[in-house]
């Protein structure tokens, strides 16, 4: 960092944050903020660092050195390009934290640290970036993880969508846990931790031409606490998966295919909020294919099903948990649902994105 930057007052408290002097000169992001010089340093000193590591005034280095407990490390990476950047229930920032924390939690790992790489578009309003960064910091705090390294690049106006965020996450596996699709066993029970389709429909509700006046809020949330509660009650969880893009249908198809087992779903058992159901009906969408960002699917042995259910329901993020299906010998590799009429339908993986239909 240059000496000029060091002489500016450093904001350490986010509650008091208002655009500090050096950043105030630039109400929006300019190319220089990605140049690696003074402007870049000011962004780090006055926005990113106070948000992600309040009170930390140690020298910045090229890489962060960590002492990690344990020998089995889980790592994951994800990139976030959601539009709009801010939506009911979150921002691209909190989504990035939750998505990465959840990927780690689904392996049974305890999430520890995250990295955050930003690609900012020239012209992005500084105030909006600040809201996103603060939301990200809040999400990290609530999830109990630290954001320990980062990077910023700026692309020319028209070459980015405001903000793209890439995160990596590192977690540790505290025991010999092996939670993976290959553990799905015939006779196992499938549970979901709550209502499906909330996030996807919250996003859809903001898209041009598909606006509703609606109470659909994204369910974006960190699931590590929920997983811990579940695994305390049921140590032998076989499979965990967070059904993000492509929804529950995609996740269960993947698990069925990976494990070579059949999965039978009870449509009537799926928890779906009335507003989500109504929005899906209006657009001709199937909630099974709509993204979730704060829900998990758990596959557990049959004799642990009720214990699993009550442990999920006792946690604030799992109050609407439900048993939704079972692992079967029939139709290996396929997901089949029993409809409200007692008939059956095969639920295939969507080819691409599910689009609203008129027909």
């Amino acid at each position: 960092m240059s000496t000029i930057a060091e002489q500016q007052p450093v904001v350490t408290s986010m509650e008091e944050w208002s655009c500090p002097l050096p950043l105030r000169d630039y109400p929006s992001i300019v190319m220089g903020h990605g140049g690696g010089g003074q402007l870049s340093a000011e962004l780090v000193t006055h926005l990113f660092r106070p948000a992600f590591a309040p009170g930390d005034t140690s020298a910045l280095t090229d890489s962060t050195v960590l002492m990690l407990p344990g020998q089995r490390i889980a790592c994951t990476t994800d990139t976030f390009v959601v539009q709009p950047l801010e939506f009911p229930g979150g921002t691209i920032g909190s989504l990035a934290v939750h998505g990465t924390v959840n990927d780690l939690a689904m392996s049974g790992a305890r999430p520890l640290v995250l990295t955050a790489g930003f690609i900012l578009e020239e012209g992005l309003p500084m105030a909006q970036l600040a809201r996103i960064v603060h939301d990200m910091a809040r999400a990290a705090r609530e999830a109990g993880v630290r954001i320990v390294c980062g990077d910023t690049k700026v692309v020319e106006r028209g070459h980015g969508d405001g903000v793209y965020i890439n995160t990596s996450g590192i977690g540790v596996l505290d025991d010999d846990v092996h939670i993976a699709p290959d553990r799905a066993t015939v006779g196992d029970v499938v549970l979901v931790s709550g209502s499906i389709g909330d996030h996807g429909m919250a996003i859809m509700s903001q898209r041009e031409g598909l606006e509703f006046e609606t109470a659909i809020i994204s369910d974006s949330a960190p699931l590590n606490g929920l997983v811990e509660a579940l695994r305390t009650a049921v140590p032998d969880v076989h499979v965990l998966r967070d059904p993000t893009r492509g929804g529950v249908a995609t996740s269960l198809n993947e698990i069925a295919a990976d494990a070579g087992v059949g999965i039978m779903l009870e449509e009537q058992a799926l928890p779906i909020r009335p507003a989500v159901r109504a929005a899906c009906e209006l657009l001709g969408l199937d909630p099974l294919f709509v993204a979730n960002e704060g829900k998990l699917l758990a596959i557990v042995p049959a004799d642990a099903a009720n214990t699993a259910l009550s442990s999920l329901r006792s946690h604030p993020l799992g109050t609407d948990a439900a048993i939704i299906g079972e692992v079967v010998t029939d139709h290996p590799g396929m997901l089949v649902a029993r409809t409200g009429l007692g008939a059956r339908r095969v639920i295939t993986m969507p080819i691409g994105e599910q689009l609203p239909r008129i027909c």
Binding site: S195, E211, F212, E213, T214, A215, I216, E266, Q268, A269, L270, P271, I272, R273, P274, A275, V276, R277, A278, A279, E281, L282, G284, L309, D320, A321, A322, I323, I324, R338, G342, A343, R357, I358, C359
Partner: protein, 103 residues
């Protein structure tokens, strides 16, 4: 061509020269064009296709149809008729948890 969903008219207003309405679809509300139902009033139900209300729902007729459906098979049950074995309805779904509608 045929995805049309029923909603209840909660308010009617004009947007420029266009007659519009706000409809409640049971959890979400959306503004739709009401130009094709000039006699519709608040409280009535209409079906909506691609942002247009195209027909009112005759509630009396709906209730009559449901009543007819609900009385099907009751006579057979009362007379103790046996269902055709080849076509026994599938066993009831194992009911694991709560209803699907969340408040």
């Amino acid at each position: 061509m045929c995805l049309a969903v029923p909603g209840r008219i909660t308010s009617i207003y004009d947007e420029g020269a266009m007659r519009m309405a706000k409809l409640d679809f049971g959890g979400i509300t959306k503004n739709v064009c009401l130009a094709y139902l000039p006699d519709a009033v608040v409280g009535q139900y209409a079906i909506v296709h691609v942002g247009f209300a195209i027909s009112l729902i005759d509630e009396a007729s709906a209730q009559e149809t449901l009543h007819h459906f609900r009385s099907l098979g009751i006579l057979e049950e009362e007379l103790g008729e046996v269902a055709d074995e080849d076509y026994a309805p599938p066993p009831p779904c194992p009911v694991p948890s709560q209803a699907t509608s969340l408040s």
